[in-house]
Subunit: 319 residues, 4 copies
Amino acid sequence: MAEPSYDVAHLGHVELYSDCFEESLDFFTRIYGLTESGREGDSVYLRAFDDYEFHTLKLTRHHTTGVGHVGYRAASPEALARRVEIIEGMGCGIGWVDGDMGHGRAYQFQDPDGHIFELYFDTVDYIAPEKERSALKNIAQRYHGRGVSPRRLDHLNLLAADVGAIRDFMTKALGSRVTEQILLDNGRLGGCWFTVNNKTYDIAYTEDHGGGHARFHHVTYAVDQREDVLRAADIFLENGVHIETGPHKHAVQGTFFLYVWEPAGNRVEVANSGARLILNPDWKPITWTETERKKGQAWGLKTIDTFHTHGTPPIATDH
Amino acid sequence: MAEPSYDVAHLGHVELYSDCFEESLDFFTRIYGLTESGREGDSVYLRAFDDYEFHTLKLTRHHTTGVGHVGYRAASPEALARRVEIIEGMGCGIGWVDGDMGHGRAYQFQDPDGHIFELYFDTVDYIAPEKERSALKNIAQRYHGRGVSPRRLDHLNLLAADVGAIRDFMTKALGSRVTEQILLDNGRLGGCWFTVNNKTYDIAYTEDHGGGHARFHHVTYAVDQREDVLRAADIFLENGVHIETGPHKHAVQGTFFLYVWEPAGNRVEVANSGARLILNPDWKPITWTETERKKGQAWGLKTIDTFHTHGTPPIATDH
Amino acid sequence: MAEPSYDVAHLGHVELYSDCFEESLDFFTRIYGLTESGREGDSVYLRAFDDYEFHTLKLTRHHTTGVGHVGYRAASPEALARRVEIIEGMGCGIGWVDGDMGHGRAYQFQDPDGHIFELYFDTVDYIAPEKERSALKNIAQRYHGRGVSPRRLDHLNLLAADVGAIRDFMTKALGSRVTEQILLDNGRLGGCWFTVNNKTYDIAYTEDHGGGHARFHHVTYAVDQREDVLRAADIFLENGVHIETGPHKHAVQGTFFLYVWEPAGNRVEVANSGARLILNPDWKPITWTETERKKGQAWGLKTIDTFHTHGTPPIATDH
Amino acid sequence: MAEPSYDVAHLGHVELYSDCFEESLDFFTRIYGLTESGREGDSVYLRAFDDYEFHTLKLTRHHTTGVGHVGYRAASPEALARRVEIIEGMGCGIGWVDGDMGHGRAYQFQDPDGHIFELYFDTVDYIAPEKERSALKNIAQRYHGRGVSPRRLDHLNLLAADVGAIRDFMTKALGSRVTEQILLDNGRLGGCWFTVNNKTYDIAYTEDHGGGHARFHHVTYAVDQREDVLRAADIFLENGVHIETGPHKHAVQGTFFLYVWEPAGNRVEVANSGARLILNPDWKPITWTETERKKGQAWGLKTIDTFHTHGTPPIATDH
């Protein structure tokens, strides 16, 4: 058995498209509680208060919704080089880009479903301006308490036609480990959760039943406490945000969750994992059967229909 | 700059000595909420409900209190071999032991202050007996809700005469990274927090002002929510456990904490770190000055005197 | 407008029937976390840790499930006399009984649907035996932390064929105030929430669609924090208790709730109301329309079907 | 024994003086999270989101700090008349005033220490303007989540030279019940907690060691959860507010508390009582001895010195 890889340090950022940009930006800043750290061209760079990098969300004005690209940070320049060699060998590389306001040069590639990824090491640390400086020097930015106010980017969920192909891809390209998965009765993978570090997952893929490609399911920021998720529910309620499902506890990964749709329709989650981490270097993936998943979430909540049908951008079969 | 090391996966277990064994065992099981997974000789093996290994606390009947040894698990057999070579080269190695009920062969060594460590890869996964099996298959053992009922081992705090020497030692021997430290006005390190993974720390050392050696400050298990720490305070109160300080929030590391003394006098903490993790592979250590530390904890609580004087085993200067 | 009445101090206790008594008793003590304070004949007297009276739940072995009787405590002997005179004048009185282990003589009467009530002033204060004495002298019994461990009895929900008739009855007989109600499109009351004090409600009635009489919907104990409700969900999950719905926040009354069925089928709730109280002496009832209620609970959870159909004892139409 | 009185419904509002008005107003609105509902003359009227009346805090520009007056609402016009008759008979009445923006005519009187009280029934209900209307019709105003954002006014603490005299006064004048008290070794009352309803207390008096008169100790608003208190601590920390002590749990009344000083120096508390209520109509006061109080708060925190010395307005002996 090969040694586990630690070449990739963590999920770095997500670029999200919005076709009603101003409303989306208002949602992410005033209601969801992220902070703008810069803007350039059609994009605004956003961050949670304790993200250490310049940004973790790049919100881009676009003619549709969905994900632009996903960035992971490598553990070192050498690790980056090792990964690029592997990815190029897999034949899915795109090439180097200069980076943007948030980080330096990055190597782009795509997954079997067509989602664009990039891997980088050189980054831009967030330097808090005076009024955003925390009273505690070990926090990247002051806790402002505006809106939901999550601490940091947590994970991403993408849709793919063939989750089994994704499992091969992610474990090879990023050296990700599979922590949990859903095995359907037809032998296909219904969902798969991956991690490159001690987080229980930084990306999940679930099967796209709609025939689309390169679609987005949701992005999630982490709050410190489950109470913050409950409080978020009231904030969303009072601001007229569409609450899709939750708060409740996932059976898979045990995360306490709440899903809403931001104004453009992209699904956004607020979550808390408690003290749960994957510390075991030879963790064996947990496999859930279709029967087990039909029991619903941890405390019995049935998974809502739109959770299986709504992705962004929308496709004809959503109607 | 060298690449960060990921040879060591995580803190595995702590052996604690008790000179009033039965009372200590009652504390750890009935009040603190650990579960006994085995006993052999003078030791009982204990675990939190979601520790994946057989045990994380080995409680041993002894003529005094303090720490027996500290175990870390390597990321792979190859990583273990690499580390042993480094440690032997440092001249602090002791040698291989066969392991005990909780894990396989382990390499023992000691830190400059005389604390005994061991590093192992072969371990014993906890297999829950029927009545301890969780309704959720991704949890090691059912959440029994007995006493404080923490989720998993979190970290350890040891005392050392020369914390600066420890910093050199830990970063070389285990490849640990320093996440935070206290730099005293006299130029000495007053405290240093280390991690081998994404946790903000798995071990901390603070200066032993008492002239002792190889002494123990505290061991900590993590609960999922700050509310669990508050609830723990009531459980300790109602069971007559000595609450030393807290609940409050640390300035260093931002952890929400509560310290008590188990019946034999060893300090035990309950803590919650929220969603805070060290994801940055080139994290620069946060350095606190003596002046900053004199401000007290995050919300102003003054550090209690015994926190600086009480360690186990006790020494003459405690009197 | 008449002055508000304060003759009735609070809901005192509920007698619940079980046709699988031992399992129900195990549920209420080991899992739900009540304490047995006495037993006599076919009944066991149970209490939450901070109920000031001897008992708040009388669990009685019976050939079926449902509610035996409901007890309210009057504010004074004079207030009790005033209420009895009014109730006798309403023609629904039954007469005086001697009381049981938990209180002194009581006047019994019935509501229009046939539920038995009793009103009493002389009561038995709970005197904690040594091992149940709290470290805090202002708490009735120590916080034992066993199972859900709620603080006190909160409220009761009964079913009735004609909720409008109940509204007239409760406001006259007990001097209860209506705090919230559901007005159906057909002009009938679908539900009505009553209080005799500053609690937002101590009893609720909802329409029995099944053609039954004197049936029971649920009994609720209050926990201090919403986190206790979430923790209760895990305790129920790990103990195989049927979770019907929740945790979620009610739109009506804003309570954070969780509903389960105890082994005999009686519905039991765990709830937290936060700091919400009815302090206004001339509070105007909040009226919810059928359309408003169809939106589901506060954060959008749809009301589960069994919530409208399952009552105890069961009736033929439940099938 | 006389029947308990329910003539007085609840604590209505507090008038607080500030000698740095703009800073105080900024604190109460932006940081503490109250909402301005009107201003007139030297005063701004403030409210928590679920206070049902127009205001609960009247902040008045003044040459010093401290309390202007305290308002209680009667349960009915008849109850108001009964109380005024009693108070006039006690010889401490001042007379009727027209009321202000927040309520109608009120009867003023003073306690033995010189604090001004008023009793009123006619009030002004808060009518939320469109943008402040909650998504839930049973809440007075939307939960805005700005700053600490407490739910409602909870209680007040005043200083008095002779707490024993206050006990006689409050029980006679308002019909308040004593729920807890501190009996000093010298036979004097060190503190006394009163309630007119089911809350565990709506006013407390503690002994003024400074030789002052009519001084103010603190005002408290209630949040729904203890987590809200912890979150408040971070908000205060990040906004440079002086945190005096807490968060911690009081031994007396068991409330989870946090004390800060607003910019003018008036002490302000954030608190949560959980589900604790005084439902017993013949509750016997809990008496704490000086020895018991020296143990500190519930979990052992020592009472901070300023808690005994700092009141507003300051007096010479504070120096």
